[in-house]
Symmetry: C2
Subunit: 208 residues, 2 copies
DNA sequence: CTCGGCATGCTTACGTCGTAAACACGGCGC
DNA sequence: GCGCCGTGTTTACGACGTAAGCATGCCGAG
């Protein structure tokens, strides 16, 4: 019979299918049954390759991290760092439904550790002492993941402005939000992200 | 009979009970049935006050936001901003299991809008132009929520170091993480958080 | 005072979820 | 040629969110 021979299941194939599925349908729609049927297989078959759903989610953040484009070493520390966080934010754009997982379940894999090592190396070679390198890493990472999440899910404590139009709020009660009505209509998120990155990087340069 | 008269249910009472429950048992443990029994009531009774579970979660972030301690106006903009974000981070410490909701489901309530208005006012009166005030607000908020989440859930791409002890990693493969072994054992998170805040605030002062 | 409606809570029920357990089967090593 | 092991299936259980309909007590209108 001309039945297409199914490629065998594997952890990697399952994780990639899960990422594709969540990209398409959203995180809440993901269930073992639906993921199974996405792969032409019953839900329980997945358990031969993944111990439970939590591990599946962890695996998905591994996949994301694997897609992170690590910039080459030869560019000077500042440019390298900047490019790394741009790439990080790009992940959020490419997988907006999966990205929150990355923030909420930090990966504990060799790949993740390698990224940290690489980052620290760059800063140490730039001349930062170990402690400052660590602080810098965490400050930048906090900022970047906070920004990326906010960009995806709506800015925390954002003026309803950006959603409903700041103009709909009473000018008397909310004059400062109101004056941002126009700017809020089309914020340049790239510029906004770079603004914060600039601030932090400039501050770091002064501690060199 | 000496049956204790139950206080009547209300949206507020439900939300507060939900926050207490999640503080104690974790977010995943929260279900309508359990929350009901926490209040001495069946699950379906909750639906008289809250349209569905999603709205319940939204209400919980309202409760958190209501606990945010907004610093007084008379302190000078820099100090006021700093204190506000310290208070924000304090929320994360007081409700580590609820806080991620705040980051992932931005509130769209009048209270939230009022906070933004207040923040923008402070920056505008300090002399920032509207656009910069907005960028500043978002840079600081991104940093603070990113840091707070990382502090709660483990730092994203943290060297397994902080969890397993950096010393357990091969010194040859991960020299830079290894050299942070000692510092990582007891990071001063307060100082670390202030480091990033300083960086951003210093940068902002230069644009005044 | 009575009556009727409405707000509040309860009961039952449906479909979906994660996953434990037992089973079927096919290929590979002895 | 036989048994084992890795892969996938079947069935089943308890918990979940919530729709629908029912019970009950309070409050205002007559």
């Amino acid at each position: 019979m001309a039945v297409v021979k199914r490629r065998p299941l594997s952890r990697q194939r399952i994780l990639e299918a899960a990422v594709r599925f969540v990209d398409r349908e959203g995180l809440e729609a993901l269930s073992m049954r639906k993921l199974g049927s996405e792969l032409g297989v019953e839900a329980m078959s997945l358990y031969n390759h993944v111990p439970n759903k939590d591990a599946l989610l962890d695996g998905m953040v591994e996949v994301l991290l694997g897609e992170l484009e690590v910039p080459p070493e030869d560019e000077g520390w500042e440019r390298r760092v900047r490019e790394a966080y741009r790439a990080f934010r790009r992940l959020a754009h490419e997988h907006p439904n999966v990205f929150p997982l990355l923030v909420v379940r930090p990966p504990d894999t060799m790949d993740g550790i390698w990224l940290v090592e690489e980052f620290l190396k760059t800063l140490r070679e730039a001349g930062f002492d170990p402690q400052t390198a660590l602080y810098a890493f965490r400050a930048l990472s906090s900022y970047a993941s906070g920004y990326a999440i906010a960009e995806i899910r709506g800015f925390a404590m954002e003026p309803a402005g950006a959603r409903a139009g700041a103009g709909t709020l009473s000018e008397d009660d909310f004059p400062h939000i109101h004056e941002l009505d126009a700017p809020l209509r089309d914020v340049d998120h790239d510029a906004e992200f770079e603004f914060g990155l600039d601030l932090i990087l400039a501050g770091l340069k002064e501690r060199l």
